[in-house]
Symmetry: none
Subunit: 215 residues, 4 copies
């Protein structure tokens, strides 16, 4: 019942989300620097001025777009993490999710990497990039924690190191995939399995896992 407290702000936020979503398409296609607000507007059903009406500036828009995408992304991985009930299932689910992201959302993902690279130069980007980065690190940590939970053993590295590893692997695979390497997905998945198995060794094949109680 508390669903309509500030209809004004809600409408505004809704519209921002809508525009952010529409921008994602063009942004993912061209990248941050090469995308103009005019281009975004033209590729959507909105006018050029409306973008400036809802967003402080280009940065505000881009950040909104990417944050939105990344939130969706995290959600999807969390679903895998939450629903998997065995080491095997989680491993395959995780690898599959990564593969799917690579195959279906490569353009979207390169936008994120572009943004992060720009944050190396523009301080204005940093706070938001760091926030998104942190949310990804936490997501990865939830995955590994789940592995550990299913195994009974701890994760061998700190959260940051784990994230850096998978991020490095994904980034490498993304570049290869976009370059036309057909085996990029499979290679990445096999690499991911290897790394997971080193960070959280699989339980002994013989002993079937003893279902840890779901949260």
């Amino acid at each position: 019942m508390a669903t309509q407290p500030r209809p004004r702000d809600d409408k505004f936020a809704e519209r921002r989300a809508e525009l952010g979503e529409a921008a994602l398409q063009t942004l993912a296609e061209l990248g941050y620097a090469r995308t103009s607000l005019r281009e975004i507007a033209q590729n959507s059903e909105f006018s050029h001025g409306v973008l400036h009406y809802y967003f402080e500036d280009k940065l505000d828009l881009i950040l909104c777009s990417v944050r939105q995408y990344k939130a969706r992304c995290v959600k999807r991985y969390d679903e895998v993490t939450t629903t998997s009930t065995s080491y095997e299932e989680l491993l395959e689910g995780f690898a599959a999710a990564l593969g799917d992201t690579l195959r279906k959302e490569a353009p979207l993902h390169r936008l994120w990497y572009d943004l992060r690279a720009q944050s190396l130069f523009e301080a204005a980007f940093r706070a938001d990039v760091a926030e998104i980065d942190k949310s990804l690190e936490k997501m990865i940590w939830r995955v590994l924690s789940r592995f550990a939970e299913l195994t009974g053993a701890p994760v061998h590295v700190p959260s940051g190191v784990a994230y850096a590893m998978f991020d490095g692997l994904f980034q490498q695979a993304l570049l290869k995939h976009l370059s036309g390497d057909k085996k990029a997905v499979a290679t990445m998945q096999s690499n991911v399995r290897l790394v997971v198995s080193q960070l959280v060794p699989a339980p002994l094949p013989t002993k079937r896992r003893r279902q840890t109680a779901p949260a």
Copy 2:
């Protein structure tokens, strides 16, 4: 006799190298998209037009600049690899080199990451970026091979995976360092030591086992 076969081309290549070097400074400061050829010319002793004379376009110039820098970079790491005579020495040398790069060449390095991010969008960048990337991967592999050589044990992961891991760690540290995190260097070094010890466990003499033993 092979000393002056094509004096024309040599002069030309020399001039390119010189210009590429001069451009590096400005590019590292501003990043690819925000650097104009004018700006580069102004920050150097060269005229605006000469850049267009020696380089096809902006892309040609930036690629030349970064390739040059990266070649120097690889050389420096190889020196450490070659001269180290013990696991300990190599580990410390490697960590120190990474720390130095982060501290002293952060701007130069972010340019590389910028370029690689752009290659995700612009196919024109890819071949050269891939080439540089490969040279770095090989460099990392030489480091690990040396570890293995000094240990007698093999490296636990393929070359690509190893590179992705260190690259991920370095990238993460770079962002933190540029954001003002004073502990970025130390954290990265400790992370690197951890990863190395997992990829190529230290020889017994050093009292340091139990790395892989579960808690």
Copy 3:
């Protein structure tokens, strides 16, 4: 009985006055060209649309604002003129009033000069600017007439010339004052005294003749 003949128009005029007053603040701060209706609305408690509802356009609004301010201004000077009972008192009151205006209403006053300058280009401004200008000229004339009345001697120059002189002096002082010149007010006041004494020489009682005698 004539208190509520056209309640519609009265309300309307009242509202206009209210809005005009609210706009004054922002206009005085930024000047005509740099002030947007949005800015005015944001700095007031009114909505953006209401301005367009009560005013034909930006011009209509600004004219209303300035006219209102200037009317208040004239009233204040007239009070000095009316209540002063001696040459000395009037001279000091006039100088004090000018000083006060400069010190306390410099932003408001520069708006008036801005508007008048714009009227040199935009015919649409001219009628209203001329009207305000005339009201100021008359005000100055009332001051001088009062001097003459208290002296018994006539004013030495036509109304327009007198106005131009004081206006020139005030404008000059305004620029200096806004530029940070601490002595702008005092200098203007001394200049004003000098000019008044030349236009309407002080009565004999005050030992102060020889104003026009050559050195």
Copy 4:
């Protein structure tokens, strides 16, 4: 022989002067705020980009234009001052020059007043406006000094007051003239004669001047 020391800078300055002159036309027509650089370019034989090539920004251009015009202006009045050999001749020459300026250069002159009004708001304008203002004040002072020289009597007011007076009169006349008042010029001239005669009384009609030695 010292006429071509830096052919580079000279060319540049020359071009600036040329462009500044070309801009004057449009600027005088529309005023500062309503004139776009594009418009200036269109009304000249130059491209839009060249303006940005030679001038830092819009302000730089406008200032250059107005400064140039005003320097010419001052020169013209100085000529009158220098060549006049009697009170009468100087008075008529001065009045004629003012009349000419009003009749032939009203648009140019309103630009100056516009600029000065903008300087009340924008600090960036002030230094240059003050400089031009000072040059005008000095010019007026040279005129009055010449009157004094021809008369043998001193000027009755400080330089600043004198300038403010004539400036006020001219401004008033300019507005009337632009509003279509046919008598604006004549009225101003008669006012100027009146003021001059009060600031530096004419020599006795009977006694013919005793030619003061030319400088």
